[in-house]
Symmetry: C2
Subunit: 246 residues, 2 copies
C-alpha cells in the first residue's frame, strides 16, 4: 500500500481512497455480488495491510453513497435494488394526500432498434448500435401515474423481451441486477413541464394537451458508465415529485 509521501504529488490521494478503489474493484469484478456480505472490517484491514480505522473510513464513504449497507452486529453488505427499502431511492413520487399505495408496473411494449444520434450520445454508444426500447406504465391504486419510455444498450441485456419484463415480480432495476448483472448506482434527472400528446394522454387517462411532468433520467453504473436513458411522463393531479434540499 502506497503511503502518501511528503512530496507534493498531483495524483495524491489518501490511503482510505485507495482502499475504497480496491473495494470498488471487487464490486465491479463481481467478487461480492448484490446482497452479499463483504469481509469484516478487520479482515479487510489485514488483507489490505492498513488499520481498521482506514478501512472504516473507506466503507463510511461508500455507505454514504448507497454502495454498501452497514448493519450493526451483522456485517457490511453490497447494496441491492431487491431490498424493498431501496425502492424509492430512484422514484421520488409521493401522494398529495396520505400514504403512497402499493404500485404495479405494467410493461406495454419492448422492441429492438438501432441507436439514433440522441440515444447514442446519451448512452455513449456508436450511432446505429443495437438498443432496446421499453414502454411501461406505473400504477398506484390502479390509477395510471407514470408512463415511461426506456432506452437500453442492447448488448447489456441480450435476451430481454416483453415476457421477461412481465414475469419480473419487483422493480425493473432489481430485474436488471439479478438477471443481467447491471447495477444502477446513480442517476441524473432533468424535469420539465410539457403538454400531453395523444399517446401519453390516453395511457394516463388525462385530456390531450393537459400539463404533464416530464422526467428525463440518465442512469449510471460503476465508473460512471451510462446504461439507461428514460423519459417518464408523470400525471401530477393526485401525485407529486418530492425532493428534499439539504
Amino acid at each position: 500500500m502506497n503511503k502518501p509521501s511528503t512530496f507534493h504529488s498531483p495524483t495524491f490521494s489518501p490511503l482510505y481512497r485507495q482502499i475504497r478503489a480496491l473495494i470498488t474493484r471487487s464490486l465491479e469484478s463481481g467478487e461480492w455480488g448484490p446482497g452479499d456480505i463483504i469481509p469484516s472490517e478487520s479482515e479487510l484491514a489485514i488483507r489490505f495491510g492498513v488499520s481498521q480505522g482506514t478501512v472504516r473510513k473507506a466503507i463510511d464513504e461508500m455507505a454514504a453513497e448507497n454502495l454498501l449497507v452497514r448493519r450493526q452486529g451483522k456485517g457490511t453488505f453490497v447494496a441491492t435494488h431487491n431490498d424493498p427499502r431501496s425502492f424509492f431511492r430512484f422514484l421520488r413520487l409521493a401522494a398529495n394526500e396520505g400514504e403512497l399505495q402499493p404500485s404495479k408496473s405494467v410493461p406495454l411494449e419492448c422492441w429492438r432498434a438501432k441507436a439514433g444520434p440522441d440515444v447514442a450520445r446519451t448512452l455513449a454508444l456508436e450511432p446505429g448500435a443495437p438498443i432496446i426500447i421499453v414502454r411501461r406504465l406505473l400504477c398506484f391504486a390502479n390509477e395510471p401515474v407514470v408512463f415511461d419510455e426506456i432506452y437500453l444498450p442492447g448488448e447489456l441485456f441480450p435476451d430481454l423481451t416483453l415476457d421477461i419484463l412481465k414475469s419480473g415480480t419487483s422493480s425493473l432495476y432489481s430485474l436488471f441486477e439479478s438477471r443481467y448483472g447491471v447495477r444502477m448506482i446513480r442517476a441524473d434527472e432533468r424535469l420539465r413541464a410539457v403538454s400531453a400528446d395523444r399517446v401519453s394522454s390516453e395511457l394516463l387517462q388525462v385530456a390531450e394537451g393537459s400539463p404533464l411532468l416530464l422526467v428525463e433520467r440518465v442512469t449510471f453504473t460503476y465508473a460512471d458508465k451510462p446504461v439507461e436513458w428514460r423519459r417518464g411522463y408523470y400525471s401530477t393531479q393526485n401525485f407529486h415529485y418530492h425532493n428534499e434540499l439539504g
Copy 2:
C-alpha cells in the same frame, strides 16, 4: 459530559451527537454567526472535555449537512448564503444548452396580510397571524424564468418592504440571514406540472394555458421550524430543474 452507560437507555445517543447538539445550540444562540470562524477542533475538545476525534466526528456530520464549512489550514466556518458558492444550493435550475447566465431577481410586490388556514398550517402559525407576501421574478440573460410567490411569518421580518427587497444586492436568503438573522437550513419541495394562468403567463411571457413547472417549497430554519412557504412557477422551455439521485 455524560458518557453512554452500559445500561440500555431509550434516550442513548453517542457522545459526538451530544457535542453536535452543543455546537448547534451555539449556532442558534448566535454565539457564532454566519460566515464566522468557530473555535478550532482542539479548543472545542478542551471546552467540552472530550477528545479531538469526537469533536471532529460531530463537525463531520454538520459539514455533511451544510451547516458548517471546513477549510483546510484555515478553520471551520458557519455556512452562509452570502457565499456565492452556495447560491445554487436551493435553486436546482440549469440551462438546456450551455452554462447558466448570471441571474437577476426582480421584486414585484410586497404586502402584509393575515394567514389563511393553508399558510397558517404550513408555517405553524395561528390562523390570522400576520404574514408577508412577496412576488418576484427571476431572470436569466434578461429572460423571465421563474415567478415566485412567497409567504413569510410577519414577526420574523418586522420591517420588510419592497424597497428593501429591491436594494438587496444578492439572494433573498442572504438578505434574510444578514438583516433578520433567519438562516435557511433545509427545504422540502413538491413538484407538479400545471397550466399557466393569466398572471403567470404574462410575467413569464408564455401563452396562457401552456405547461409550467410548479415548485412548492417549505423552508426550515434550526429545530425544523418552517419559516417560508413558496410557490415557484418555472418556465421550462429553455431551462430545466436538475436533480441528482444518489
